[in-house]
Every structure is written in structure tokens, then in C-alpha cells.
């Protein structure tokens, strides 16, 4: 097991006029045994980052170390890591056993040892009865487990996952999420997990790296990212419904944005005055969409209330009070937290 260090990592595609910078100087330290999730919207460079760590993509600038070894120029197989691909990338003509054993065979691990390691992985992943099957004779979930098994048998320094759950249905995804957590507890192998799903990120991560357009916006525990978002992007990306980012709040200083999560606004007798614009009844929660009574533009304020509260009528006026310790302030120009 080992830590992974990214030092001013840069990735550019193309050259000259067509240059396209995809990763902008990302630095981060992933500790030994830590489970880190990289999360961000589509196209923000998550996969590129992961693939650079894997050695499948050339590094334009900066340095990647695994353990204490700079791996920039090492082949993927020499980096002592294992990767689980989004589409699993199982060898279609090999059965489950051979799929898992292939890497070990190439590494010339003795046959007895291969057998033992594959058996152990199969047991952990409950794949025992499928060992002779070909990938196409397996369900999506089973294929996913084989892909994990292939990573496990390598006993690598680190696991890399590129959206491994995105091809599973919602129920199986939730289940597999728990399995991955359990697996990480048992094996304690440093893991880098890419996803665009914030629920996946929040539940799996010990620390999460929020990316936007090739920039690492924040790197911290899910708790930190939720309660102290470093930028307006993080504030709006994490949390559902997203945080209210208000330019026109009554007590806002000019040049700043006030952030408050819908769940931290309470309907009270006095406070910010809103006209109710729309209502969404979601069973356990209600979302009230209001507009400023003082008429500042089209800014919407989302308030989350629950069934214990009375339902405000459309077009009525309500008052809300933000919880003081849950207010965030951001610089309007840079989007950075103040």
C-alpha cells in the first residue's frame, strides 16, 4: 500500500493553436489506505486525471508519485496499481477465472499462488460458482464484480475506479456502493474513485476532490465540502437541491454572494420577505421557491421545509430566517469563499 501524490499536474491535448488544457495544475496528497473520490460534472477532466495516474495518458506537466516513487515514465503495469473500468473491459473470450488470473500469469506468479489468490477474491466477491463462465454469460452486476476481482488479485498499491457503478441500476448501485465500502475496510488499499454522482461521492469518500473544468476546487472530507464549500461551484454542485447563492440578500455586502442551503432557511414570522413562486411536494420534504419581495431581479430562493410546517399558498408572502452559523459568503468576482 502506498500514498499517491499529485504535484502540479497538468494535461494538455493537441498543440499550437488547437491546444486544449484539460487539467490545470492539480496538487493533492492521497494518504496511504485512504479512499478518495474525484467528483465533478461531465467533461471536467476526472477520467483524464485518473488515467494519468494509471499511466494510460501521458503527463504534460507536473509529477505523480505512488509510494515514494515518481511514476511519470513508468508503464501502467509497472506502477503496481489496478484499475476498474466503466465498461469493465473483461476479456470476452476468457472465463471468469482466466480474466482474473491473466495479469498474474503475465507476471509469472506461480500457478498455486494464482489459484489461491483468485479463489480468495472469488470468495470475497461471491463469484465462486461463476468461475467457468464467460463474461457474456454474466449479469452486469456480476461482470462488475469480476472486474473488481481482477483488481483485487493483483494485490496492488492502489485501486483506481472510473465510474464503475454507472452501468448498474439504482438498486444494485446502492448495494455495490456498500460492498465497495466493506471491501475497502477489509483490504485497506488506497483508492481513487471517479464519479459524477454526488451521492456516490458523499457516501464513499473519506476525502473528496471536487473538480470543475480541470481545476481542483476543493479537497476535503464530505463533511467539510458540505459545510464549508470553498467556492460557489462546490456550493452549488454538492447538495440537492443546491445551495442558494444570493446576490440580492437584504443584508449582503456589495461584491459578495451570500450562500445558504435550502435546509438552513426556516420559515418564521419575520425575516427575509419572499413571495411564493412555486411549490414542490416531495413527500418527506417540500421545496418552496420564492422571489424577493423587494423585487431584485429574477433571483429564486429555495426553502426546504417538511410536513410539520403548514403549506404556504402560492403568491402569498412568507418570511424566512437563515441560520446564522450556516451562512456562507463568497467573493462575487472570484467565487472564492471569504
Amino acid at each position: 500500500m502506498a500514498s499517491i501524490t499529485l504535484n502540479k499536474l497538468v494535461k494538455r491535448y493537441g498543440n499550437g493553436k488547437t491546444v486544449n488544457q484539460v487539467i490545470h495544475s492539480v496538487s493533492a496528497q492521497i494518504d496511504d489506505g485512504e479512499f478518495v473520490v474525484v467528483v465533478g460534472p461531465s467533461g471536467c477532466g476526472k477520467s483524464t486525471l485518473l488515467r494519468m495516474v494509471a499511466g494510460l495518458e501521458e503527463i504534460t506537466g507536473g509529477e505523480i508519485s505512488i509510494g515514494n516513487r515518481v511514476v511519470n515514465t513508468l508503464e501502467p503495469s509497472e506502477r503496481d496499481i489496478a484499475m476498474v473500468f466503466q465498461n469493465y473491459a473483461l476479456y470476452p473470450h476468457m472465463n471468469v477465472f482466466d480474466n482474473m488470473a491473466y495479469g498474474l500469469k503475465i507476471a509469472k506468479v506461480p500457478l498455486v499462488e494464482i489459484q489461491a489468490r483468485v479463489d480468495k477474491a472469488a470468495k470475497i466477491l461471491e463469484l465462486g460458482e461463476y468461475m467457468q463462465r464467460k463474461p457474456r454469460e454474466l449479469s452486469g452486476g456480476q461482470r462488475q464484480r469480476v472486474a473488481m476481482g481482477r483488481a483485487i488479485v493483483r494485490q496492488p498499491q492502489a485501486f483506481l475506479f472510473d465510474e464503475p457503478l454507472s452501468n448498474l441500476d439504482a438498486k444494485l448501485r446502492a448495494h455495490t456502493r456498500l460492498e465497495i465500502q466493506k471491501l475497502h475496510r477489509e483490504l485497506g488499499i488506497t483508492s481513487l474513485f471517479v464519479t459524477h454522482d454526488q451521492v456516490e461521492a458523499m457516501t464513499l469518500a473519506q476525502r473528496m476532490m471536487v473538480m470543475n473544468a480541470g481545476v481542483m476546487e476543493q479537497f476535503g472530507t464530505p463533511e467539510e465540502v458540505y459545510s464549508r464549500p470553498a467556492t460557489t461551484f462546490v456550493a452549488s454542485f454538492i447538495g440537492s437541491p443546491p445551495m442558494n447563492l444570493l446576490k440580492n440578500a437584504p443584508d449582503a455586502r456589495p461584491g459578495t454572494i451570500v450562500g445558504i442551503r435550502p435546509e438552513h432557511l426556516d420559515i418564521t414570522a419575520t425575516g427575509w420577505a419572499l413571495r411564493v413562486d412555486a411549490l414542490e411536494m416531495l413527500g418527506f420534504e417540500r421545496l418552496v421557491y420564492g422571489r424577493w419581495l423587494h423585487g431584485a431581479g429574477n433571483e429564486l430562493v429555495i426553502v426546504r421545509s417538511d410536513e410539520t410546517q403548514p403549506v404556504p399558498g402560492l403568491d402569498t408572502i412568507i418570511h424566512v430566517t437563515p441560520r446564522a452559523d450556516r451562512l456562507h459568503t463568497f467573493d462575487a468576482a472570484t467565487g472564492k469563499r471569504l
Binding site: 501502467p76 503495469s77 496499481i81 484499475m83 465498461n87 470476452p92 491473466y102 503475465i106
Partner: protein, 284 residues
């Protein structure tokens, strides 16, 4: 067809039967003729459509040669069948090996002028043997490859069809599979052997059948470049039996034709099974 009209059914069956007849009748004629004696064929006009009783004798002559009743001296087809078999095996095997490797290089390696190389190979699609037969003969002759297996096969091995086919197939192999193999530590040739080769099994089988028949049926090229009787393929042998300086023994001609038809038919039949197996077993 969704409509079910009896008239239409009868008509389509008639057309199909006619088609079968057109294809099968000459074949039947060939087989029947090969069982008769040459006098029988020559004397009864039109030829009898019932099998004769001379089959054993005719085939023996056709295969091993000898002196016929009419007194003509015939050389047997056996050595020619062997020549044909060897060429028809070398051509598909050589072609598959070469084209797989070149397609592998073109698809998986980044080297200077890669596209140019591909287009150069592609352009040769427009130059089948028949078109470049003159210059090819010159080259083969000056390399001293006349009357050799090398001369019979190499010019036919060089072709773009198979390269193109494998290139298209390799392009459909998902990139993730290549990357997974890289993560597993498989070098290029290892990946080729362990992943691409098994995945290509079906294409290989298909190509083998097509190219075997192509190689077996070569006529013009061997005609040009073989002067030694030991290097004649059987297709040429048939031609030589007809209208030579001596009297044409039609029963022997027909028997040789039947013999020449058997190996390709056999290959198609055997490989067909393999096709299906390949189709069932391998999937991307």
C-alpha cells in the same frame, strides 16, 4: 414475405427449382460422365444420363495416370492435386498472417506516415494479380522463382483485402480492452496473441475459406509462370486434358474435375461448422 398466396408460392418454388437445376445439372453431368467409359460418352449422342459402371477404372486413371483404351498416355492428377493443395494452403495462411500483423501495426502503433502506409496498402486493392501480371512475372522471373511454390504463392499473398478486413475488425475492439491488457502487463505481441487472435477467430475462418478457394482456383498465374509439369496445379491439369495433341478422354476429364472440386467443398463444409462455433463462442 407476409402475403401467403398459393400461386406465388408455386411460382417462387418453380424459380428456385430452376435455379437448382441450372447449378446442379452440370454437376450431375460431370459425375455421371466420370462413371462411364470414354467410348460410351463419345458414341451416344446425347450422352446417357444414367451412371455407368466404369467409375473405379476412370478415377484410377484420373488420379494415377496411365494408358487408356484409346491408347493415349495420361499423367495422373495426384501430383497436381498436391501442388494445388500446397498453394491453396500457403496462400490463406500467408495472407492471414501478413494481413493480421500489418493491420495490427496500422491500428495499434503510432509511427510516422501511418496513414500513408494504410492508403498505400488500400490502393493495391485496385491492382489484382491479373492487372499487374506482366510486371509481376518479370519480378518473379528475375528472382528465379519460376516453377517454385514461392513463385506460385507470394504474388498472390500480397493483397489489401484481408488487411483492410482485419483493420476494420481491430477498430471495433474497445479501447478499454487494450488498456486493461496494458494494466495487466501484456506487451503488444502478448496482447495480439492472447486477445486479438482469439477474438478474430471468426474472421480468420471466413478468410481462410475464401482464400483457400481463391488459391485453389488460380489458373492464369500458374499458367504463366509454371513450365515444369511437376508444378502444375490441378485446374491447369484439367485444361491440359482437353484438346491436347491426343484424343480427349472425357470421362477422365470429368473425373479430374470432380477430384478438383472435392477439396474446396470439403473446406467449406468443415469450416462452416467452425464458423458457427466461432460465432457462438466469441463476442466483443
Amino acid at each position: 414475405m407476409i402475403e401467403r398466396r398459393p400461386g406465388l408460392t408455386v411460382l417462387s418454388h418453380l424459380i428456385l427449382l430452376l435455379g437448382v437445376l441450372i447449378v446442379a445439372f452440370p454437376l450431375y453431368l460431370t459425375v455421371v460422365a466420370s462413371t462411364q467409359t470414354s467410348e460410351q460418352i463419345a458414341q451416344s449422342v446425347p450422352m446417357s444420363l444414367l451412371p455407368g459402371s466404369n467409375a473405379l477404372q476412370t478415377y484410377k486413371t484420373a488420379l494415377l495416370g496411365g494408358t487408356t483404351a484409346a491408347g493415349s498416355q495420361l499423367s495422373g492428377a495426384a501430383p497436381m492435386l498436391w501442388v494445388s493443395l500446397v498453394t491453396a494452403l500457403i496462400i490463406p495462411l500467408g495472407k492471414i498472417t501478413m494481413s493480421m500483423l500489418s493491420a495490427f501495426a496500422i491500428v495499434y502503433f503510432r509511427f510516422p506516415f501511418r496513414n500513408l502506409v494504410f492508403w498505400m496498402i488500400f490502393v493495391t486493392l485496385m491492382l489484382p494479380v491479373e492487372v499487374r501480371i506482366g510486371p509481376t512475372y518479370e519480378v518473379v522471373a528475375s528472382l528465379g522463382m519460376l516453377n517454385t511454390y514461392a513463385g506460385l504463392t507470394i504474388p498472390l499473398i500480397a493483397s489489401a483485402t484481408a488487411t483492410f478486413l482485419f483493420r476494420q475488425f481491430f477498430l471495433t475492439v474497445p479501447d478499454e480492452l487494450v488498456e486493461a491488457a496494458r494494466m495487466d502487463g501484456a506487451g503488444p505481441m502478448r496482447f495480439f496473441k492472447d486477445v486479438l487472435l482469439p477474438l478474430s477467430a471468426t474472421s480468420i475462418a471466413a478468410l481462410f475459406v475464401i482464400q483457400f478457394i481463391y488459391g485453389w482456383n488460380q489458373y492464369l498465374w500458374p499458367l504463366l509462370m509454371t513450365t515444369n509439369e511437376n508444378m502444375y496445379p490441378v485446374v491447369m491439369g484439367i485444361k491440359r486434358l482437353i484438346g491436347g495433341e491426343s484424343y480427349t478422354e472425357w470421362n477422365v476429364v470429368m473425373a479430374t474435375a470432380v477430384l478438383a472440386m472435392l477439396p474446396p467443398a470439403l473446406v467449406v463444409m468443415l469450416m462452416q461448422k467452425w464458423f458457427v462455433k466461432g460465432l457462438v463462442d466469441v463476442e466483443k
